[in-house]
């Protein structure tokens, strides 16, 4: 008995043979310190002589301190606490405890889309509830969130403005794919409005960026029944319209060619119909619109002043739907639906005006020469997309649009018993085609890629032709002639973009793209089959081929809880003829959270633009020419610094204040007196190169949720230009130097099916040049015919106008109120709405242009105003 006890004691003291038994983890140890280092803790565990601890210094930092839960803990508890702190787990074999590094993070990724239609939700948020670590979905709805593994459950919240947030709880033990669909608030009977934490404006690093929900755009009062995306953007601070009614965009003192307007990633050169009274974007087919005025992320390049990134809808994946409207001036129809439910969908959207049908009889009645004329425009968007799997998706899209104006006159008469007819026709047309093929490929749950191939073409032409018939030797002879002026630009492009999201602290984007441009700034052809003087020539202005390349890398880096920085570099190069230009453009934007409601932002961006728009400073005509930078005309460059603050007020309002300073180099203007690059003339000889600079502050108060939504914006700004050969080399205000620019846009839902909206805009008048004095011209210089050499005793000179400083006169201020009211009703097939709108509700005569006329007694300035009050009605339907 004594021997057995001794043996047992011996065995206990020397320890249990390792292969067959384990030291108990429930052994309790009293730890000497409250927060020992890992090294000390392990020493104390080993001091029990029950365990041998093994670990690698590579993944365990022995100096790291561990907080001990209580004085007397089991070894198991101590090991757990150590694991949590060092991201390890342990394995036990007998006495030996090994600490193993475990994959510390797992990735949740997938797509966020609209529950009803399956459309990608762009910029939707996905964040972890407790730590608030999160990310947002990209243009294709893809998101990737990498989080540390915990043995408890983790809750991810998905949210997007205008949609019901959704929460998903899971225990994160492996990489997971979660595809989420969110419910549109508008479709719910009872809506709980919560602007979730991550939607707040102050969170977004990207400053100078405004995202307007498409539903808000569609609720704005429409011009002649047509809701317009670009017109709505003109209502935001920092963005100005040029002339009355036109959709030219002037951002922070920049010109109308300095905006990168992207339609599904393809740049659009001329985004207007009818001189800019309408834009080419059909609001029914749009998913998302984002405007960036400064602090441009590195993935964008090629224009100085703004990026307008428009994503079109892809087509409802689940059900067939349509919507459309019939208005006074134009009608449109959109059809979308699945081809293979859940896998393939299409959307087709078209719009056409019928002004020509309305005006044709009026013109015929008014015309003396049996003339007729008309104008119409149309747009067509067609897209199809297919989901091969969660990893691959293909999109094919095309846009076609054209404006056509024509005039004709005919004269029939009889001569010598033979019937003759003279006819004359003139036409003007311009339009775009853009097409894109895109392939999304998900390499792994952290790396998303997109390959885009595009073709786009913009052209305009003016044509006039005639037919004369006459009698010669008792026979009818026909003489036909034709003059055509054609100008255009054609692009072939390829882009490869990657989104790499290794952790919530870094969102890395990088990519390359190449564009092959072909510029044709003006070709002129004349044809005339006259027997005596036949003519068939084509005079080309020089045809430019140019290649543009760009590469970029950027990182959205969360440095600390408060500080987030977007750092990027954009490198671009341009190769045209003998000239080669390149530009290295650093981009930095930072956001610092002062509190969870208030943030400060700062940014710097350098931009380069390799194309110019030669525009006549009068009205934005389709005769505006796109020309490339060449050896003689260098690319435009800008530097922009911006500083701002953003704050959320009571979860509903967002207010931001931003100041900027921007310099622009190598901007171009036509030489004094030149108004049009005539065919045969080289445009390079007609331009002056100069500089511009602008600065100002913008205030924006926005409400995105609730029954009443909208915004209030105010901009105070200055913008000037200086050209050595214009205005005697002195600086002058840019034509669109608008000192004050204010706008209010409000949409109010007053009953379930009644909506009311109004917009009011105010702007200081444009800066123009008008004559100040007249004086006599030197007489012998006048173009004389051949009669009348100048005689000294008669004083009958021509007049010379003296204008003073360029752009030194301001037209009267521009202000206008538009309003609309919508009555919706559910029908058995869908929904219909009557929309009554009024443009320029108090019929202010806003100056369009001013000109001087007369002499002496009759001398006066006349002002031309374009639109008085214009009511309109349209019928909208959805099914």
């Amino acid at each position: 008995m004594k021997h057995i006890l001794l043996l047992a004691l011996f065995l206990i003291i020397t320890g249990v043979p390792k292969a067959h038994s384990q030291s108990s983890l429930s052994t309790k140890i009293t730890v000497k310190e409250d927060s020992p280092t890992v090294l000390h803790l392990f020493k104390q565990i080993e001091a029990t002589n029950l365990f041998d601890l093994a670990y690698s210094g590579n993944y365990v930092d022995v100096q790291q301190t561990i907080s001990i839960p209580n004085d007397n803990s089991t070894v198991q508890e101590l090991l757990k606490v150590t694991n949590d702190a060092t991201h390890t787990t342990f394995r036990q074999r007998g006495r030996q405890i090994m600490l193993i590094a475990e994959p510390s993070r797992y990735t949740i990724s997938g797509y966020i889309s609209d529950a009803a239609s399956g459309e990608n939700l762009i910029g939707a948020n996905a964040f972890e509830k407790t730590s608030l670590q999160g990310t947002s979905s990209n243009t294709y709805g893809f998101y990737s969130l990498t989080l540390p593994a915990t043995s408890d459950s983790t809750t991810i919240i998905y949210s997007y403005v205008g949609y019901q947030p959704q929460a998903v709880s899971l225990v994160l033990t492996q990489d997971t794919t979660i595809n989420i669909t969110l419910q549109d608030n508008a479709l719910l009977d009872e809506v709980v409005i919560t602007a979730s934490e991550a939607d707040k404006i102050q969170e977004v690093t990207q400053m100078s960026t405004i995202s307007v929900p498409i539903e808000q755009i569609k609720s704005m009062p429409a011009f002649l029944g047509e809701v317009d995306v670009l017109k709505t953007l003109q209502l935001l601070p920092g963005v100005q319209s040029g002339n009355e009614g036109t959709s030219g965009i002037y951002v922070r003192g920049g010109g109308p060619d300095q905006n990168l307007i992207l339609l599904d990633g393809v740049p659009v050169y001329n985004a207007s119909h009818l001189f800019g009274f309408f834009s080419v974007f059909n609001a029914d087919a749009i998913n998302n619109v984002q405007l960036i005025k400064g602090g441009f992320p590195a993935r964008y390049g090629g224009r100085l002043s703004s990026v307008i990134d428009i994503s079109m809808k892809e087509g409802n994946m689940n059900e067939f739907h349509g919507e459309g409207s019939i208005g006074l001036v134009a009608s449109k129809l959109t059809l979308e639906g699945p081809i293979l439910k859940g896998k393939t969908s299409f959307i087709v959207s078209g719009r056409r005006t019928y002004i020509d049908l309305l005006t044709r009889p009026l013109i015929r009645a008014a015309s003396e020469v049996n003339g007729t004329g008309g104008y119409y425009f149309y747009d067509l968007n067609a897209k199809v997309n297919h989901r091969f799997s969660d990893k691959d998706r293909l999109y094919l899209s095309a846009y076609l649009g054209d404006d056509r104006f024509s005039a004709e006159s005919k004269d029939e008469y009889v001569e010598q018993g033979i019937e003759l007819e003279d006819s004359f026709r003139a036409g003007l047309n311009w339009g775009n085609i853009t097409s894109a093929l895109r392939w999304n490929h998900v390499f792994n749950n952290k790396l998303f890629s997109n390959l885009t191939l595009t073709y786009s073409r913009y052209r305009f032409n003016i044509e006039s032709g005639f037919t004369f018939e006459y009698v010669q030797e008792e026979e009818k002879v026909t003489n036909k002639g034709d003059v055509q002026y054609l100008s255009g630009i054609q692009d072939f492009a390829a882009k490869l973009d990657f989104d790499f999201i290794p952790s919530p602290n870094h969102y890395i984007r990088y990519g390359v793209n190449a564009i092959r441009h072909r510029f044709n700034p003006g070709a002129f052809s004349v044809f005339n089959d006259d027997a005596d003087f036949p003519l068939d020539t084509t005079l080309n202005s020089v045809n430019f081929r140019a290649n543009e390349f760009a590469a970029y890398v950027e990182d959205d880096w969360q440095i600390s809880n408060r500080l987030k920085v977007n750092l990027g570099l954009h490198l671009s190069a341009f190769d045209v003829g003998d000239a080669f230009y390149y530009s290295l453009q650093p981009r930095v934007a930072a956001r610092y959270l002062l509190s969870d409601k208030f943030s400060l932002k700062a940014s710097y961006a350098r931009m380069t633009q390799f194309v110019h728009l030669l525009t006549n400073s009068g009205v934005g005509l389709p005769t505006d020419l796109w020309v490339p930078a060449t050896e003689l005309v260098p690319p435009q460059q800008s530097h922009q610094v911006a500083l701002g603050a953003a704050r959320s007020l009571s979860n509903k309002y967002e207010i931001s204040l931003e100041g900027y300073y921007k310099t622009m180099d190598n901007v171009i203007e036509y030489k004094e007196g030149a108004s049009f690059a005539a065919p045969g003339q080289d445009w390079q000889d007609l331009v002056e190169i100069g500089d511009g600079w602008s600065y100002g502050t913008e205030l924006l108060l926005q409400k995105k949720v609730g029954k009443t939504t909208g915004w209030l914006g105010y901009t105070l700004s200055w913008t000037n230009r200086q050209f050595d050969n214009l205005n005697f080399g002195r600086a002058f205000p840019y034509k669109y130097d608008r000192r004050h620019d204010a706008s209010i846009a409000v949409v109010h839902q007053w009953k379930k099916n009644r909506e009311f909206s109004f917009t009011w805009v105010y702007g200081t008048g444009n800066a123009i040049t008008i004559p100040r004095s007249l004086y006599a011209a030197q007489e012998s210089s006048n173009s004389q015919g051949f009669f009348g050499a100048p005689t000294p005793n008669t004083f009958n000179p021509g007049e010379v106008y003296y204008y003073g400083e360029r752009n030194s006169y301001r037209m009267a201020a521009y202000h206008r109120l538009d309003a609309s009211v919508t009555f919706r009703k559910d029908t058995r097939w869908g929904q219909r709405a009557w929309v009554f709108a009024v443009y320029n509700a108090y019929s202010r005569q806003n100056p369009f242009f001013i000109y001087y006329t007369g002499f002496g007694e009759t001398s006066r300035f006349r002002q031309f105003s374009l639109f008085p009050i214009i009511p309109s009605v349209s019928y909208r339907f959805e099914f």
């Binding site: 005509l621 045969g680 004559p771 004389q784 106008y801």
Partner: protein, 321 residues
């Protein structure tokens, strides 16, 4: 239809509902200034016309001449002569300026700010050779009872050779005058039905010139419709600097009457005259076009308006039989 007409038509179409009003423009009244106009050259007496400028909204129907000004001419900084008023704002002096010299004019008048301007008489580029031939050009037809007969006009075609100076930028104007013998009918009220006699007179008229020579058509004055604005040809030496050049040009249009003498003149202009003529023609061309940018006309009169410029000329007279 010119493109501007096309746009006008287009605009008319869409602005059916638009309004045009006369507005009150709040403009500060511009002070009246002296206007001095004169081209001086070695072949004629120095003559300038002096008038007053007019505020743009001034109701006066014409420009006011200045008849009480003091005008003094300086040659290379030395006072040379006073100009005397000879009527209708014309001030002249028998002095003839000389090639290669700088001239300054100073004008004072009561109640107006004094003005001053300078220019030079440029070294003459001589016409080395001029050939002329006449061509008949069909310019229409006259029809009666279906019977049509073409009508012709005589045009003159020239080739002029000259050599440019290398050491400076040169500006040229080619001008042509004709002397015509013409008649006009005299009617007597007492004798209705045809003219009783024709009165014959001789008159000097300026010829309208056109050219498709690259030196001219590449300049800013070719507005693309094949024509050329202005009755003279204006060009610079950019293309042929320092070299000899032969310019081709023709007269355009009908002269009326019989031409007895034809003069072709090659003027070597000061930069002041060239810039003035260039900008004035541009301003006139764009008048009425609301889409073009305004053109400030070149003005070398300090504190005033107008042009004081020098040129020298060489001419060749062609006798027509």
């Amino acid at each position: 239809m010119t493109r501007n007409q096309l746009f006008a038509y287009f605009f008319a179409l869409i602005v059916l509902g638009s309004c045009e009003t006369v507005i009150d423009v709040d403009l500060p009244v511009e002070p009246t200034r002296l206007v001095v106009n004169g081209f001086i050259n070695p072949d004629s007496a120095v003559t300038v016309r002096i008038s007053k400028s007019k505020f743009v909204l001034d109701r006066a129907e014409s420009f006011t001449l200045v008849e009480d000004a003091q005008a003094v001419l300086f040659e290379n900084g030395q006072e040379i002569t006073q100009l005397n008023h000879v009527g209708t704002g014309l001030y002249t002096s028998p002095y003839r300026p000389q090639v290669g010299q700088q001239y300054t004019i100073q004008v004072d008048a009561d109640g107006l700010e004094s003005v001053e301007a300078s220019s030079e008489i440029v070294k003459t580029v001589e016409i080395a050779r001029l050939t002329a031939d006449s061509i008949r050009r069909e310019n229409g037809s006259v029809c009666s009872n279906g019977d049509c007969v073409p009508t012709f006009t005589t045009a003159y075609r020239f080739q002029m050779t000259f050599t440019d100076f290398e050491e400076r930028d040169n500006f040229y104007e080619v001008v042509s005058y004709v002397v015509v013998r013409d008649s006009f009918p005299v009617f007597d009220d007492a004798n209705p039905g045809g003219p009783i006699e024709y009165e014959i007179f001789t008159e000097r008229r300026r010829a309208f010139l056109i050219s498709d020579d690259p030196v001219v058509s590449s300049s800013e004055f070719d507005f693309g419709d094949g024509g050329f604005f202005g009755s003279s040809l204006l060009f610079t030496d950019d293309i042929f600097s320092g070299r000899s050049y032969t310019l081709n040009f023709t007269t355009e249009g009908a002269f009326g009457g019989k031409i007895t003498q034809l003069t072709v003149m090659l003027r070597t202009l000061s930069v002041d005259q060239y810039e003035y003529l260039r900008t004035l023609q541009l301003q006139e061309f764009n008048e009425g076009d609301p889409f073009s940018e305004v053109v400030p006309v070149y003005n070398n009169i300090e504190n005033g308006f107008g042009i004081f410029a020098g040129y020298s000329a060489d001419s060749v007279v062609v006798d027509i039989d």
